[in-house]
Symmetry: D2
Subunit: 240 residues, 4 copies
Amino acid sequence: MSADKITVYGHDLVTEVMDQWSFTELTYAAITGGLRPAREHARMLDVLLTTFVDHGVTPSSLAARLTLLGAPEAMQSAIAAGLCGAGSRYLGTMQIAGELLLTSLKNAGQPADEAALSNLARDIVQEYRRDRRHLPGLGHPEHKTGDPRTPKLMDIAVATGIAGVHCRLLFALADAYADITGRKLPVNAAGLSGAIVVDMGLPPVAARGLAVVSRAAGLVGVVLSEMRTPTAQAIWDGLR
Amino acid sequence: MSADKITVYGHDLVTEVMDQWSFTELTYAAITGGLRPAREHARMLDVLLTTFVDHGVTPSSLAARLTLLGAPEAMQSAIAAGLCGAGSRYLGTMQIAGELLLTSLKNAGQPADEAALSNLARDIVQEYRRDRRHLPGLGHPEHKTGDPRTPKLMDIAVATGIAGVHCRLLFALADAYADITGRKLPVNAAGLSGAIVVDMGLPPVAARGLAVVSRAAGLVGVVLSEMRTPTAQAIWDGLR
Amino acid sequence: MSADKITVYGHDLVTEVMDQWSFTELTYAAITGGLRPAREHARMLDVLLTTFVDHGVTPSSLAARLTLLGAPEAMQSAIAAGLCGAGSRYLGTMQIAGELLLTSLKNAGQPADEAALSNLARDIVQEYRRDRRHLPGLGHPEHKTGDPRTPKLMDIAVATGIAGVHCRLLFALADAYADITGRKLPVNAAGLSGAIVVDMGLPPVAARGLAVVSRAAGLVGVVLSEMRTPTAQAIWDGLR
Amino acid sequence: MSADKITVYGHDLVTEVMDQWSFTELTYAAITGGLRPAREHARMLDVLLTTFVDHGVTPSSLAARLTLLGAPEAMQSAIAAGLCGAGSRYLGTMQIAGELLLTSLKNAGQPADEAALSNLARDIVQEYRRDRRHLPGLGHPEHKTGDPRTPKLMDIAVATGIAGVHCRLLFALADAYADITGRKLPVNAAGLSGAIVVDMGLPPVAARGLAVVSRAAGLVGVVLSEMRTPTAQAIWDGLR
């Protein structure tokens, strides 16, 4: 920033970015340290950002409402309180699934054909079962027969040409799991997002970063809704 | 949310929103409680979101980096720490400017012609000077001869048909201030954003909410940058 | 901090502070920039710290529990989320009451006799009624006939020789309010704490700082309780 | 809480706790779900609380100062931002050391004599070296020849009769490490605090909780100091 010029990730904010880059493209630049995404990557990223906007009653939205009750002068802190809960239990899945897929394929030398992928998936499922660990990216407490976001995300990942070996390995994991255990545990949206982010060439942690941006937008909505129609006092009264 | 359907602000996430609404449109829905913006409003909103992405060395980005140093396992908390500083001193300006413009015009019965607007502006400047209060939306510590984002924002506000009486009153305030004091204090981007948001029919606090979303994206970039290239330890070492 | 010595507020931590200063005394040093309190001030401060430890179901404790649900790896963030709500609505009272008392007495030239204090109190009550402002430090939503902590706090403030003109003005305000309006609004513990802190020669904001320390201790208890006996999932399930 | 009675951890706040329990004792009750500590445990706990009050220039205190710069209206958020950094890197050590000692002794059937303890320590050191993991509780980046707090903490742990098998195992680890590697890595204060907390019969996570309370007090001091003598703007200016 100088007296008459503002630079953002190496680009002149006023002459190059404003009204030319979308916010989603700038978010990609933030994540990558300055790159502008290809058009299809921007489309995919935008879909990921919309998919995880927090809506309805969630632990984060409740924490934000309760925080605003005590500190109405600091809406940013109510949002911050909500984001503090965006930790390993929900958003972590994206990153952990992405890391599992990335590492497994790297170690395996990136097998290209379906048979090799299927074998790799069986090995991973068996290793996780032996260690009694939870496989990330599969199953959902609410959507037991399948996360409705998964096929839509996959359609777009295919349409944009992004879906690659990491997405395929994730679905192979679900198949291997059903095969080995006899129980279906469908691919969830968080896991698939982790796979898509890695197929886009971004680090797994970027998936979690995108979800934080989505949540921030959702929480801004929550805080404005709480200002229009307060609910936190009633929530509190109902709990004591 | 039911077993096979997710609703976001009254719209079916999978069949109506994903790949059809942009993230910026969904942020508008979050702020308004469910509305989809007109195309020109979406364009304007997107520009506002890009304008305030935090970049470079700011108090928020430093707080995020220093927080990550102590808690590398919780990137969401580093972002939350950065957002906690998005308070009255920087982002507040948007909201306070928006509120001043909205209230002044409401109380004045919304004068339409330039002479009436100019008189209103003179009254406001004189009232603020009498009370020794700082006029929000004018001046910038770095951009003393003019905030480079201001003309660009105004161009887009005009091109989209959004620029209205609140924007005009803000520029009238700058003129009145120069007239009365002999000193120029140009309209800054934060103030103009407050005016634009009010001209879009949104509450002034929405301006602050948008800036929080922008900052969240910027801070995600900061945290990923800190993970790639740590700086916090060196910052700390340099200060003690 | 050097290789073999750690200094805390100007005192050698190992040889002068540990096992010699109480934590409450060190908190006083933190607030005052290094002073050790007189014995009676340490006693009073310790009582203030115990009075505001968060217990039971409060907005802050709920926010902390809900945050831990999403981010079990970051207990410090759950506590931070709870503290974010320690804002103007609850803790602000202490500071605002302290500021009102301090400023009023400063402006009035510190009247010593009861008649002058009573007149000052009447003036303040009438000014607040004229401006339709809420008088800080009086009344409590739960303890309508009197906050049970108030007489105990006052006893200790008297026993320690701390109770002074600021405490007296606060009680005079309650009397004046009852006199003028015919309705009783007893002195509450938050307001009296503000008065006591000012009578101790500390700035009003120190009252709020002490309450933050109390809350932090309470919230540590909340987080450990949530770890032993999780409740957040059930709270969430009950609300959607 | 009823109209005329406030209960804290099962005790009547006014008649049983205020002016009778110290804040440190109430913090013990918060941690344990209601117990009052024995006198010697209260003494030890108070020393632990004083040992970790944040002072001087730390990542947490810098984050708090920078946050206050942007949001001077929300001191609680500046403290919250500082606490968000109280994560695994610094405070985690206490908990991780405590867990290592607790688990190792549980698995080993709690060997009482020094020879058995020494063998256990050698096994642990060798296991950590084989896995190339960092041994928690040993070494300090500043205090290379020994953390000056360690002997003082140990003296008090012995004087209060608290020092037990977990403290002894920690020192045995340092001895085993020196023996096996030929390099000295003295017991640090964080590690010893973890051992002491476990020797007090508290869970390892309680050590981290205590440190959060200490930091909160330190950060209140930081925020009040920043209000008296602002430094954040200069820190920021110096970094860009």
